[in-house]
C-alpha cells in the first residue's frame, strides 16, 4: 500500500549574491516518487544532489530562500496534499504523523532542557495528555531506544550525553507519537563506526516493530544497503536510478550508480587498484545541458550532451534516466 506520493516536485533556492542579484538553484527538479507503507527507502547521492531538500520539502522545513515551485506531495494517512496545507496543519503532521531524525543531534536538542522534558514536550503538544503522564511515557521511550540507565539519563542535559546517546534521544522524540513515516537525515554521519552500527540497527528494529515507513537520507551506499528495501540515487536534483536495493547493488544500470558503487569503501575488495569517477558534482547554478551527468560519464555520446534522458521503467521494476536504456 502506498503511504506517500510525490509528483513532479520542484524546489528551487533563490540565491542573491552581489555579482548575480537573482540566481536560481534547482535543488530538486521534477522528482516523482512513491513510498509504500512499512517500506524503507534510501535516498542516496553526493552533496548537492538535492536529497536533503527533497526530504525537507515533504515536512516543509525549508530555509527561507527556498520555493516549492511545482508538484504535489500526497500523504495518504491525512489524505491531503502537504504542499497545500497551511502551517498550523503542518504542525499537526510534523512530529505526529511524520517523525524526523536529524543529522547533528546537538543542534536540534535544546541545551537548557532536560532530556525527559524535551521528549515530553512533543507528547504533550500532540496528544493532549498531562505533563506527568508525558514524562512517564518519555522514560518508556528511552527504554525503547535501548538507552543505558534511562531513569538516570532522563534528568541529564544534552551536553552530559555522548553522541550516540543524543541520537537515541532524538529517535525517542521522533517516535513518541507513533508516526507513520520516519525521516532520517544522515542519522549516523556524525558518529563513530561502532555507534553507527548500533543506531542503524535500532532504527531498523523500531521501523519493523512500530510498522513505520522509513525515508533514509544518506551519502553512504553501505548504510542504505544495510537497512533499505528500495534505493533512489539522486544526481543534481534529479533521479538517476531507482529500484530494489538488491537489483541496484548487484546490477547497476546508470553509469553514475555504477561509479558510486565502485568508489564506495569496502573491506572486501581484493584488487589493489583504486577505481574512480572522474570530475566533481556540477555547479548547481550552472548545470550541464542534456543529461546532467554527461561530462563525467565514460559512455557519453553526442546525444547525451543535447537531450535530457527521461526516467524510463526497466523490466525489473526499476526506473533509470539514461539514454543507454531508452
Amino acid at each position: 500500500m502506498e503511504l506517500l506520493r510525490i509528483t513532479n516536485l520542484k524546489t528551487y533556492y533563490l540565491e542573491r549574491t552581489r555579482s548575480k542579484p537573482k540566481e536560481v538553484i534547482k535543488a530538486v527538479d521534477g522528482v516523482d516518487l512513491s513510498l509504500g507503507t512499512k517500506e524503507a527507502l534510501g535516498l542516496v547521492g553526493e552533496s548537492g544532489s538535492g536529497k536533503t531538500t527533497l526530504a525537507y520539502s515533504i515536512v516543509r522545513l525549508l530555509p527561507r530562500n527556498a520555493r516549492i515551485v511545482d508538484g504535489s506531495i500526497l500523504f495518504h494517512p491525512s489524505g491531503v496534499d502537504l504542499l497545500k496545507s497551511n502551517e498550523s496543519e503542518m504542525r499537526k503532521i510534523r512530529g505526529k504523523e511524520i517523525g524526523i531524525i536529524f543529522q547533528d543531534p546537538m543542534t536540534f536538542l535544546n541545551p537548557a532542557m532536560k532530556v525527559v522534558d524535551q521528549i515530553a514536550e512533543s507528547i504533550v503538544w500532540h496528544q493532549k495528555c498531562s505533563r506527568k503522564e508525558a514524562k512517564k511515557r518519555a522514560i518508556e521511550l528511552l527504554e525503547k531506544t535501548k538507552m543505558p540507565e534511562p531513569f538516570t539519563v532522563a534528568s541529564y542535559y544534552p551536553h552530559q550525553l555522548s553522541g550516540g546517546m543524543r541520537q537515541r534521544v532524538i529517535i525517542a522524540t521522533a517516535i513518541s507519537c507513533n508516526p507513520q513515516l520516519l525521516i532520517a537525515d544522515e542519522p549516523t554521519t556524525a558518529l563513530d563506526v561502532t555507534v553507527q552500527a548500533q543506531i542503524l540497527k535500532l532504527i531498523k528494529e523500531l521501523q519493523a516493530k512500530l510498522g513505520m515507513s522509513l525515508l533514509l537520507i544518506t551519502h553512504d551506499l553501505a548504510v542504505a544497503a544495510n537497512i533499505c528495501d528500495k534505493v533512489v540515487v539522486m544526481y543534481a536534483g534529479k533521479i538517476a536510478e531507482e529500484g530494489d536495493v538488491h537489483n541496484i547493488y548487484k546490477n547497476p544500470i546508470h553509469p553514475y550508480t555504477t561509479g558510486l558503487l565502485k568508489v564506495t569503501p569496502s573491506l572486501k575488495e581484493t584488487n589493489e587498484s583504486i577505481q574512480t569517477v572522474e570530475g566533481e558534482p556540477p555547479d548547481p547554478t550552472n548545470l550541464p545541458t542534456g543529461c546532467i551527468f554527461h561530462p563525467r560519464c565514460p559512455y557519453a555520446k553526442e546525444k547525451c550532451s543535447l537531450v535530457e534522458p527521461p526516467l524510463k521503467n526497466v523490466d525489473d521494476g526499476r526506473r533509470v534516466a539514461c539514454w543507454m536504456v531508452v
Binding site: V193, L200, A225, T264, S266
Partner: protein
C-alpha cells in the same frame, strides 16, 4: 636502527592537565598519548585508526612537533626531533608536512591559490620570482589542477571541496617533504572525489618517494593505502601490524569490534552485526583501571580490571591483551 626506518617513535607520552585551579598544580591529566612506540619504514604508509577521542590527532601533532611531548622521543632519520636547534628545526619543517581534514579551514580565505602556494618558497627557498611562478604552476599540474591559469587567481571559497584539498596537497608537497601526515584527509569529501584524492596521494608517494602516516577512522581506507597500521584506544596501541593480516583476522577484541561495525555496500551480506558492540568510549579524564578497554570487552576477566596487559607479539603483530599475554 636499520636504514629502512624513517620514523622511529619511542614511548611517547602527552598528558594534558585538566581543571583550572589557580595557585595549585592540577593533579588530574588527560593521557591523550600514553606510551606509544612504533616504526614507519621508508616509502611506506602507516595507518592509525581508532574512535574519536583515542588520541590519533594528538599523536600526529607530536610527531611533527606542533606540540611538545610529556616524555618520549621521535626520531626522523635517526635524529631526535625534540633535541634539534633552531636551524635544524627549519630543515625539519621542510621535511615533514601535514594535510588536514577540512581544507576550507586550513586555507587562508583571503589568499588566492597562487599566494598560498608561493608562501613556502618565499620562506624556505631562494628562488627568483619567475622560478617561483614556474614551480607553482608545476605543482598545480602535479595535483591535477590543470590548466593552472584557471586556478591561480581563485580564492578558497571559489574552489570545490576536492579542488581545495588538492591545493592543500600541493602546498604540502611544495618543498619536497620526505614525510607526510594525512589526518582524515578524505572525511569531508564526497565519495566520488574521495577516490580521486586517494589515487593522487598514492601517485605522489611513488613519484616523490614519500613516507605517509594516514590517520583515519575508516578502516577500508587504511586497507587500500597502508602496509601496516595500529588501532588506538584512549592513548594506547591495542594492536599493531600488517594491514591485510589484521583486517582479515583481527586478534584484539577491540579490533574485532571495530571491524564488525564496518558496513558493506552489499545488500546480500547486509547484516548489521552489533553483538560485539557495547558502550561508548569512556571519559579520558577518568579512564578505566587495568586494560582501558575492559568495560566494553566481551572477554573481560578479573585480571583485565586490575593490570594493564603488556604488548605481546602474536602472529607477527603486537597485541596488548591478556588473552594473548598469557599464552
Amino acid at each position: 636502527m636499520s636504514n629502512q626506518t624513517l620514523i622511529q617513535i619511542r614511548d611517547l607520552r602527552k598528558y594534558f592537565p585538566v581543571g583550572t585551579e589557580i595557585f595549585r598544580r592540577s593533579r588530574r591529566f588527560v593521557k591523550a598519548v600514553d606510551g606509544v612506540s612504533f616504526n614507519i619504514p621508508r616509502q611506506e604508509s602507516f595507518g592509525l585508526t581508532g574512535e574519536s577521542g583515542s588520541g590519533k590527532t594528538t599523536l600526529a601533532r607530536l610527531i611533527i612537533k606542533l606540540i611538545e611531548p610529556t616524555s618520549g622521543s621521535v626520531y626522523l632519520n635517526g635524529q631526535n626531533i625534540y633535541e634539534l636547534n633552531e636551524k635544524q628545526m627549519r630543515l625539519l619543517r621542510r621535511q615533514m608536512q601535514m594535510i588536514f581534514q577540512d581544507p576550507l579551514s586550513s586555507l587562508n580565505p583571503r589568499k588566492t591559490t597562487k599566494q598560498t602556494l608561493e608562501q613556502p618558497f618565499k620562506l624556505h627557498a631562494s628562488l627568483s620570482k619567475e622560478q617561483v611562478e614556474n614551480e607553482v604552476a608545476r605543482l598545480l599540474e602535479i595535483v591535477g589542477l590543470a590548466p593552472p591559469e584557471i586556478f591561480l587567481g581563485r580564492f578558497p571559497h571559489e574552489l570545490s571541496g576536492g579542488q581545495r584539498q588538492r591545493v592543500c596537497i600541493a602546498r604540502a608537497i611544495s618543498l619536497r617533504p620526505i614525510f607526510l601526515i594525512a589526518d582524515e584527509f578524505v572525511s569531508a569529501l564526497d565519495v566520488s572525489v574521495r577516490a580521486q584524492i586517494i589515487k593522487l596521494l598514492k601517485k605522489l608517494q611513488a613519484e616523490f618517494r614519500m613516507t605517509y602516516l594516514i590517520i583515519t577512522h575508516d578502516i577500508a581506507l587504511i586497507k587500500s593505502m597502508c602496509s601496516n597500521f595500529s588501532v588506538m584506544y584512549l592513548g594506547r596501541f591495542l594492536e599493531v601490524g600488517d594491514a591485510s593480516k589484521i583486517t582479515k583476522s583481527p586478534l584484539h577484541p577491540y579490533t574485532r569490534m571495530l571491524l564488525s561495525a564496518v558496513l558493506e555496500p552489499d545488500p546480500d551480506v547486509a547484516k548489521i552485526r552489533t553483538h560485539m558492540l557495547y558502550g561508548d568510549v569512556p571519559s579520558p579524564i577518568n579512564p578505566p583501571s587495568g586494560c582501558n578497554f575492559h568495560p566494553r570487552c566481551p572477554y573481560v576477566t578479573e585480571k583485565c580490571k586490575t593490570t594493564h596487559p603488556p604488548p605481546t607479539e602474536v602472529d607477527g603483530r603486537i597485541v596488548s591483551c591478556h588473552l594473548y599475554a598469557d599464552a
